[in-house]
């Protein structure tokens, strides 16, 4: 992106979850379900001295994409790190379940998930984990009928059980600012030590889990600039392409064959990962 383009573009990263949903849907088509005025808040946070948010950090937006029925599920990274609690998790799972039900009745509702999340909200621990399992179940169901498209733009990225949800999506889109990985850096450092993973070394972390690395090693399908227009077009193209013949999550033979060639006595390097998966996937 040159200077002129940078001035012209609309940053996607700087948009709130609600604005992101609106930017992805056809103009004027967005209708929010269980919006903030319903005040469906977390029943667990207030008693722990944590401020609740009127939408629990998840926006469920129905509307159209390319004039076809669609639902966008956008997680607000600015609220509690985009963490999944009981209410927010149920909003995502429930909406995906209804989208699958639509498809069974001949209505081709598609889903886009905007991941900006650290994973389970630890203040609701086991209920967040349970909701994430239900999100997984719903994605696997829906993707039998329609492509489920995921994007993580940053700055939070996509971690924990929700990174598994990203791994279930038919198409996964990333930006340079995003990261996609199971375990957050601080947690790995806590569990495995600083020699294994230095949570303060940002270039190191991005070199393994950053959007560009994930795209170059075929763990993401598209790598886009932080440009709302470009992201919207990439998502449309992914929806038009439909679900792949075989989802990435279903390629255990290919991944096991690749991993058989890894020497686990050596520490991993980003370039080795790229080379291995470029060849084997």
């Amino acid at each position: 992106m040159n200077c002129e383009e940078l001035l012209q573009r609309t940053s996607f990263i700087e948009l709130s979850a609600r604005e992101r949903a609106r930017a992805l849907l056809d103009a004027g088509s967005m209708r929010e379900l269980i919006g903030p005025f319903e005040r469906m808040v977390s029943p667990w946070l207030a008693r722990q001295g944590v401020v609740t948010q009127a939408d629990d950090g998840v926006v469920v937006a129905k509307g159209r994409i390319d004039r076809e029925p669609a639902v966008v599920l956008a997680i607000e990274g600015a609220y509690q790190g985009g963490s999944m609690g009981e209410v927010g998790g149920a909003k995502i799972a429930g909406a995906l379940e209804l989208a699958a039900e639509d498809n069974r009745r001949g209505i081709p509702t598609r889903a886009v998930i905007v991941f900006e999340t650290g994973g389970v909200r630890l203040q609701e621990a086991n209920l967040g984990l349970a909701a994430i399992a239900e999100i997984h179940a719903a994605i696997v169901d829906l993707r039998r009928y329609q492509a489920v498209v995921g994007i993580t733009a940053g700055t939070v990225g996509c971690f924990g059980g929700m990174s598994i949800a990203a791994g279930l999506c038919s198409h996964m889109i990333v930006t340079q600012e995003a990261r996609l990985g199971l375990n957050g850096p601080a947690v790995i450092e806590q569990e495995a030590g600083i020699a294994e993973y230095d949570s303060r070394d940002r270039p190191f972390i991005w070199s393994f889990t950053g959007g560009e690395q994930r795209y170059r090693s075929k763990l993401a399908d598209a790598y886009v600039d932080d440009d709302a227009h470009a992201i919207r077009e990439t998502i449309r193209a992914a929806l038009r392409a439909g679900a792949p013949a075989r989802h990435r999550s279903d390629r255990h033979e290919d991944f096991l064959a690749c991993l058989a060639a890894v020497d686990p006595t050596q520490q991993a390097r980003p370039d080795a990962v790229r080379a291995l998966y470029k060849e084997g996937l």
Partner: protein
């Protein structure tokens, strides 16, 4: 390092429920698969076991790592393929005793999230294809490891034992992420059931189909095995009698009323008025 003395709970229950059935060939040390029977019909039993010599240093204590995630996917998808032409799909029993997902640089580098997605998708597809999937929690059921191995089951059964726990993150890391001390975390867990680690608190959340008392959760007695087998048979019958192949069975208990209310509101608002 698979001496019977140090046998993990997962390995002990897998052996007990399959009458010491021989593990299928061609699997890594960490994923044990036995084709046994349940209620007189063929059934596949799967568990993850520790391997102190594992070449991947971060999966030596029963964690689910890269190889484990993709191998669970393989074990489940083989069963789906084997029964593709059959009207009656064989049950799959996930015997759950998983310390956690593997925390390591190698794991993140090679995409452990994708490996766990592989396992979760395989179990979910098996369930959708009509395989009765039962998750039997006999030890730890932690976080991403549980999401990969068991949380997609039609029915979840847990042993009522102090060594059985379900949680999203270990205490030290959870304290660090939430900016609390471990003591503060434990004090909160005592009054907020979803934050607790013990199985009795978990049972109040409405996610378990049954909580079973046994005498020896780490080395099951004949009575224990009988009790668990009977429960598995009941779960199988309950799944077969249920026309739904999704996880809606987990929304029936009153503790799930908030999750249910969210779904009811979504449904009411879904169609344009």
């Amino acid at each position: 390092m698979t001496s019977t003395k140090e046998q993990s709970r997962g390995a002990a229950w897998l052996a007990a429920l399959t009458a010491e059935g021989r593990p299928a060939d061609g699997y890594p040390q960490t994923v044990r698969v036995v084709d046994g029977s349940l209620a007189g019909e063929p059934a596949r039993y799967i568990t993850v076991v520790p391997d102190a010599e594992n070449p991947f240093p971060r999966v030596r204590n029963g964690e689910v790592g890269l190889i484990e995630g993709w191998t669970l996917a393989r074990a489940v998808r083989e069963t789906i393929a084997a029964d593709a032409e059959r009207a009656t799909k064989r049950p799959i029993v996930a015997v759950i005793d998983v310390t956690s997902q593997a925390y390591g640089r190698r794991e993140e580098a090679y995409g452990i999230h994708q490996a766990l997605a592989g396992a979760a998708a395989a179990y979910a597809d098996a369930r959708l294809a009509g395989h009765p999937v039962i998750g039997l929690i006999v030890g730890k059921a932690m976080s991403g490891a549980l999401l990969a191995h068991g949380y997609q089951a039609n029915r979840l059964i847990a042993l009522d034992d102090a060594g059985v726990m379900v949680h999203a993150m270990g205490k030290a890391a959870a304290a660090r992420v939430t900016l609390r001390t471990v003591e503060e975390l434990e004090a909160l867990a005592a009054t907020i059931p979803p934050m607790a680690y013990d199985i009795n608190s978990f049972a109040t959340l409405g996610l378990l189909w049954r909580l079973l008392h046994v005498e020896r959760a780490d080395a099951p007695t004949a009575t224990d095995v009988d009790r668990v087998e009977t429960c598995l048979v009941e779960a199988l019958a309950d799944i077969r009698a249920d026309r739904r192949r999704d996880l809606s069975g987990r929304l029936k208990q009153s503790a799930r009323r908030t999750s249910k209310e969210v779904r009811e509101r979504l449904r009411a608002e879904w169609q344009e008025g």
